[in-house]
Subunit: 246 residues, 5 copies
């Protein structure tokens, strides 16, 4: 549970709400369904138009990582690689086959299987790097859904503001409607700029940070498996792997 | 048929239209032929000035990919490469020649021909990579026509807005014309910002995502052909190729 | 003669002019010598301050490429390289010396001379790549003069606008001068934003596209000469070179 | 003690304060707790939402580097490496073991230990480079907390400005509240733009400059250790290392 | 003496001054000490906060390069390298030692010394490349002081503008002060935008262009020394070096 992110989300929104109250304004004036429709509909439309379906879905699903980051436990993985390394040294690479069964992560299984099959170290690295590159590119594409939303929201907010101002202009002769038109205009700006800066862009950045950790863990795993294939000294291998999360 | 993109396009435009209606505005006030002329003419002019003719045409034609993405079926291609790999192992590389006839894609034909000609694996890769690089660069140039339009449209919209405001200033003494001048000004902004954010930029991003898939498929193909030339074990080759779309 | 660029230039400017007419405005109000002086003088001054003289001159001269692109004929060059390749195979590299006389481009002459001198293929590539890198960097620097102008013009336009507004403020008590001050202000914005988006930036992009073709042609030539030095099979060499403009 | 940074911080803030006084304005009008709450709360919220906890903490702690930069003394390190190099040449690599005890920096200890263990030079470099890459990426992530704050603050300032303007609009009928609303609006802009440009962004840049020095020092160390492992001539090694901070 | 830069600087400033005069405005209204204090003080403060002292000083000193560019004479250097190359071929590398005395540039001395010491060509290149990288990074950091100033100035100008507008708001009841407040506001914008676009950013770009030439000259030198170490044919070496400034 990532408490700093939850705290950050609430702090950002609370600053807006309390700011409004402290100024003596009504909270109700920050609630404008029309402005909400324009900003959310427009931003969502733009994001959906630009995203392949699988990327959009993965992007939506990935938002859970903001509050519950994916498990990245380098120490545990180093211990495991170290254990495999000792086994391989004592009993040979083939003996690792009996340990594959206990592994859940399919990527690790694939790597161990290649190791057991006796792939050359460089081949092993190439095969696994191809997959890491593809996985990283997919994960980043999903996180960029939020980055894109953070890019579109403020301009759609301005679109809503200009629409509100047109409404104002058309009713210049009826000053009673003037206030509400300007309110929609300004609230659309607040929705667009606020959603982008207090939610979408920080979420995208947080997801990118998580992705970097997930990918570094995989790169450490590949380096470890290649080290085992090379018959590296387990102690040096461990020292090397510890560098990845130094 | 890419339903999410069609839905996104309609959702974005609908948000604007319904927003206008909900605010009690007339839809007609969003229709300003002069603003349309300035924004569309100016943006199109800028894009045509910057684009070589072939790039411009390819960019226009490529818009179909937004709704009907190019077929990228990695499983089918892996199966095919795997089949060729088995044939080459059993009957030799030369025996692949009889299979070239059934292939339609000229790039695949070129690769198979080089394979049959007995090119060295590294040479094979180099020759095909040169072409992939050129193809990718052409495709991206075509998609960037939309990115450029997304860059020009908002500033041309502001140009139209300023022209409308000049008109307003010249008629300050005639308040009856004031409203219409400001309307053109604001609607030009809406056209420019809206076209860029609800259409041009998302289209460019969608095209880029499609291009990435097309190019990755070709890179997988090259990797497969090089693997066949190297006499790689078909099972490991397959496992390696599956990494490209992991 | 690049018709699409000429059409684009006219279309962009025509959209502004007709937009002004359709709105019922006077074309004359778009003509403001003071605004023109500020925008053109300021932009030109900034560009001259930032550019070494040779780069500035080359940038100005290069604008002809927008309408008459440099000749890039890959098919002809491939045919020529192919011819050299056959000659070299039949009669030896030295026999190419007699063909150097008929070549006009000094870069091609240099490459052929190195070939005839019996340079090692890798050396040949290195020597020519150094020059390609320098040429590309010079050409891009020249094209960036236009990119820079496109970056400065809108902000100088805003500068002119603010100067106009100061003038307005100083004459608030004399409303008759008010209109003209605001007009200069707005027209300066139009000049700055319009020049950047309808001329400078598209010109820079067009030049960059032409430079890419020129450089790719040279890279193809180098690849061909290296292939001849390596004694590559002419048919495979041709197939390889065709990839550059695929 | 980095006097230029302290001077810069005070100069920037003093320019604002004296500017306000010289214009004949009250300093008190620059103090608006509500605007402060919105800008600081919103910016802090966005930064916390986007940062993993460890990165956020390290970013906060790193601010001390602005005024007391980390010690980077290339001459001392070159002298030390040179000393080790002479020892290794005279008495063998193993004899360095007795010198590890006097070294405090764990990274240097790790490098020396690998040297003493007789790791191959290329291996030594790889192991240490992995750690440098990880350390650099962590340090930069921490510094980017300030860069991010510099990105969010101005837009949150505009958010606060728009909220102030809404407040103004709601009280158009009560002109006595008009001034205070606009003041909050404008002061929020000043806080956001000022904090970003006079504090956050320069701090981020200063931290990045310090990080570059720290990392270059480590790269020099690695190069030195690899040189010792290669048995390089101490004089040439020294000349080479001096290039890192030329 | 770089006349185009001097002309550019005067042209840019003259365009502003004449523009003001042509509009019938008073030059005096462009002179606002308070606005000057805010923009210059704020920008200088931000730049000093972000820069290590040595970088700041070097950036200030480097401004002379805008008008008197550093001497970069490739022809003379090629002739010199060619001479060394002939000497080395005839009399051996050691004979170059007597020529080191006449060389002033310490970098060239270092390179020649390494050559005379009989360093391996690849080692020679590595040692010198490390230094070139460091020198380039220092020079670019110094030039970026101006780039940074060009980034901060416009936003500090806006800060000054908003402060002026606050002043106006506080004196709405006293219309006589209104004009002066708005003037300060607008002039601060002019100072910020003008300084950035007519001075700081072009200066930064000009410095970068000079740095590129200085560094390319050094890279040519390194390539020449490596060529001598390799015993390259002087004529081919010369042809190769000429490519660097083609």
């Amino acid at each position: 549970m990532d408490k700093i992110s939850i705290a950050g989300l609430f702090l950002g929104l609370a600053a807006i709400v309390f700011g409004q109250v402290l100024e003596g304004g009504h909270l109700a004036s920050l609630v404008q369904p029309t402005a909400f429709l324009i900003v959310v509909g427009g931003t969502l439309g733009a994001v959906m138009l630009q995203s392949p379906l699988t990327v959009f879905r993965e992007g939506m699903a990935m938002v859970k990582w903001v509050f519950v980051p994916p498990v990245v436990d380098p120490d545990r993985q180093i211990a495991e690689i170290s254990r495999w390394s000792h086994i391989a040294r004592k009993e040979g690479l083939l003996s690792l086959e009996t340990h594959i069964g206990g592994v859940k992560d399919p990527f690790t299984v694939k790597g161990l299987q290649l190791l057991v099959d006796g792939s050359e170290p460089e081949r092993l690295r190439e095969v696994l790097e191809v997959e890491i590159t593809a996985v990283e590119s997919n994960l980043r594409a999903a996180a960029k859904v939020w980055e894109a939303a953070g890019g579109y929201a403020p301009t759609i907010g301005i679109l809503g503001a200009v629409m509100g101002l047109i409404h104002v202009m058309e009713n210049l002769s009826d000053p009673s409607k003037l206030g509400s038109g300007i309110a929609v205009a300004f609230v659309a700006t607040i929705y667009g700029v606020g959603a982008a800066n207090l939610i979408f862009l920080p979420v995208a950045k947080k997801l990118m940070a998580n992705i970097a950790r997930v990918i570094t863990l995989r790169e450490m795993l590949v380096d470890g498996l290649v080290g085992i294939a090379n018959g590296d000294n387990p102690r040096i291998l461990e020292s090397r792997l510890q560098g990845y999360f130094a």
